[in-house]
Subunit: 337 residues, 2 copies
Amino acid sequence: MRVTISDIAKAANVTPSTVSRVVAGSSLISVKTTNKVRRVMREMGYHPNMIARSLVRRSTNIVAALLPGSSEQVFQHPFFSGLLQGVMSQAKAHGYEVILANIDNEAEEQLLVEHFMGSGVAEGMILLVSRVGQTSLESAVQSAFPVSMVGRPIDAWVDRISWVDSDNFAAGYNLTRYFLQKGRRQIAFIGLVSDIVVTMDRFAGYRHALKESGIPLDERLVVEGRFMDGDEHLLTKELLARGVRFDGLIAADDYQAFAAIKLLSQNGLTVPRDVAVAGFNNVPLAEYFSPSLTSVDVRPSSIGEKAFDLLYQQIENKAGKPLHVIVPTALIPRASG
Amino acid sequence: MRVTISDIAKAANVTPSTVSRVVAGSSLISVKTTNKVRRVMREMGYHPNMIARSLVRRSTNIVAALLPGSSEQVFQHPFFSGLLQGVMSQAKAHGYEVILANIDNEAEEQLLVEHFMGSGVAEGMILLVSRVGQTSLESAVQSAFPVSMVGRPIDAWVDRISWVDSDNFAAGYNLTRYFLQKGRRQIAFIGLVSDIVVTMDRFAGYRHALKESGIPLDERLVVEGRFMDGDEHLLTKELLARGVRFDGLIAADDYQAFAAIKLLSQNGLTVPRDVAVAGFNNVPLAEYFSPSLTSVDVRPSSIGEKAFDLLYQQIENKAGKPLHVIVPTALIPRASG
DNA sequence: CTGAAAGCGCTTACAG
DNA sequence: CTGAAAGCGCTTACAG
């Protein structure tokens, strides 16, 4: 049997109240009593039961982190690992535990959100999700349950919830400008997905840079589609199938860029000589790949840290207004373009 | 204020006991009462407080997963992502939540283990750690706190604790045989670390295969060292510095193999023509790399699933003996050798 | 400085 | 089939 506070109280000839105060480090208790109780606790191997404490304090020091999708690819994507790492380091710094949950589908998302709001286990939740329009958040927002999310939500939600995002517009703009300055003129953009805000923002930056340079947007150079798990090359395949010449290629994600480089070389095109290629996320592989990949570091662990910080602020101050943080990005030029 | 079981009881004109039974789905309660209570619960938006429930049931349906190291590299290594994915899918299947914790250093490991054993939050813990000799487990094993770990522990612990491991000896053996059959004779092994059992086992398989073929082990072809975070190339650098010819190279981890290929080519050696190269873990990049990397799939998500299963068995049956599971590996031949 | 008492929100023998 | 009561292991006003 576990040793409880009243076991200690008996052994130390005090009441549970006193033991509790010693555990809490109260300065009310005399040094003598404190020492005696401490000794008994040590001897008997006492550990406070956090569940009981949580029940009375109404706080668990636990937050939930919800990861979208259970697909291997999503789970293993370095962006999410980075996010998680940031969340966990800040959680640890503030004495919080992190419950990790993955969302298999939209129906489950609703259930999970309600579960975490209702069960009293988590004091708040972080949605590691960029996809939006999530009705699942409606109840959370209305009941002022602390929530923060990664990725800017759609406009209607933008001020109702705390979020962190990269400056994806600037990142897309800068990357495109970089290619333009290197003399590229027919720059393709692949991996646009209309309900993934991140890709839309990057694309908007790309479009703006072209416009600024007086280059008309050629829609045949834009390939939409959410491909992963080894199907990323289909984007480039489609692009090639359109038969339009291009000398630059920007992919919404590094893995799509890797697949592009591979497919281009299979089609007799040399990177960067014939086509400059770049991606987003600066995954570890970007450095190892041959040619090494020009990419944009979005600092996922910083994003994760901020996501926790925003959540923490809401937990501390329930009345506070939702806040937004933009984490800057950094262009990492490498051999691919 | 949250709605509690007694709020529901009042509104439905029954006692808390009855509501509790309805929540639990007890068949004792009349259909009429059940329906009435259910309706009230729905109307008032009742969610059971899991903390209170856990306190009385003495079970939280939460397990802890402890991840070694906080370094980016470890956290982002696909092997650990795979492990985590497996753990989480089985946890979900059994109605468990997973608290993720990372261990920054050995001192913290001890604290974390004690925390999770003592606080009553987690019903058991999974150590996603191969490193061993861990005195931190002594107390867990003695108090019969459910634990499972990934990676075979040292001999003294092998029957005291449940664990899952790959058949690393066989994997090392098979990979070496594969190179031998392709006519390679001077096969180097890099990334051996004496206190990482995984690498020792892979190395033992390598040595055994050589011996079986009557090829003496040349110690100058074995490079020890735990390198990560971009320093992996130092292993190959050391190997080259020794000035001994080799036509095969086996790295304890794929990332070390990538770094090797890169460094070899910088030194004018072509893979696989001059040197066949292979690694372990079959990370997603292995397929994308140029040349694609021969590797060993260790099925990390299966390992994670088993690790949860073993833990679950102990939670269900505290008296049960520790169990061991070996997950088979698969050699994935690719262009590098 | 310390104690007695109430209470956090549940569950579950025990009665009827 | 339902209720009254005790209890899970803590914390914290209230008293002294």
